[in-house]
Amino acid sequence: MLRVGDAAPAFTLPAVDRPPIALQDVLQAGENALLVFLRYLG
């Protein structure tokens, strides 16, 4: 179970109408990331 203080798992995912996005690229640009995991898209 992921906890505060843990290293965030890296990932690269396809994006809608954009190139794929890698978490590492965001972080290496000096940005924080807020990941919002949705439920189903109703």
Partner: protein, 132 residues
């Protein structure tokens, strides 16, 4: 999710990229972007590998909790339409803040479909992060 959108400039000021992640089909994801007007990047995790990596599970019990029923009853009373279930209704969501060093600074796993941290709570955590 939609409640975060008005805070977009504040997320920018705090050097924070908001990445929305869905496991749904691309056609529904595109329709959701159109219907909500959300302009954050929407990433697709069809196999839910990232959901699992971040500890986000399915739960039938939590999906149908009294708290959830109360949430939807209030929405109906306010005139909202209930969403059409197209995908897996038992997959719970969550919110995770990762600082620029790659460390998790907030990990909120939804206890039920209505459980999301307020935008102000997320901004509060981000304001406390030091620049890298």
């Amino acid at each position: 999710m939609v409640q975060l959108h008005p805070h977009r400039s504040e997320f920018d000021r705090l050097r924070t990229r908001v990445l929305v992640i869905s496991f749904d089909e691309e056609r529904w994801a595109r329709a959701w972007l159109r219907d909500t007007g959300v302009s954050f990047p929407l990433l697709l995790d069809r196999e839910r590998r990232v959901y699992r990596a971040y500890g986000l599970r399915r739960s039938v019990l939590r999906t149908w909790s009294p708290r959830t029923a109360w949430y939807y009853m209030r929405r109906l009373a306010a005139g909202a339409r209930l969403p059409v279930v197209r995908g897996d209704p038992y997959q719970l969501g969550g919110d995770v803040i990762v600082d620029a060093g790659g460390i998790v600074r907030l990990a909120h796993r939804s206890r039920d479909p209505a459980d999301r941290p307020p935008a102000e709570r997320l901004l509060e955590v981000l304001r406390q992060l030091r620049p890298p």
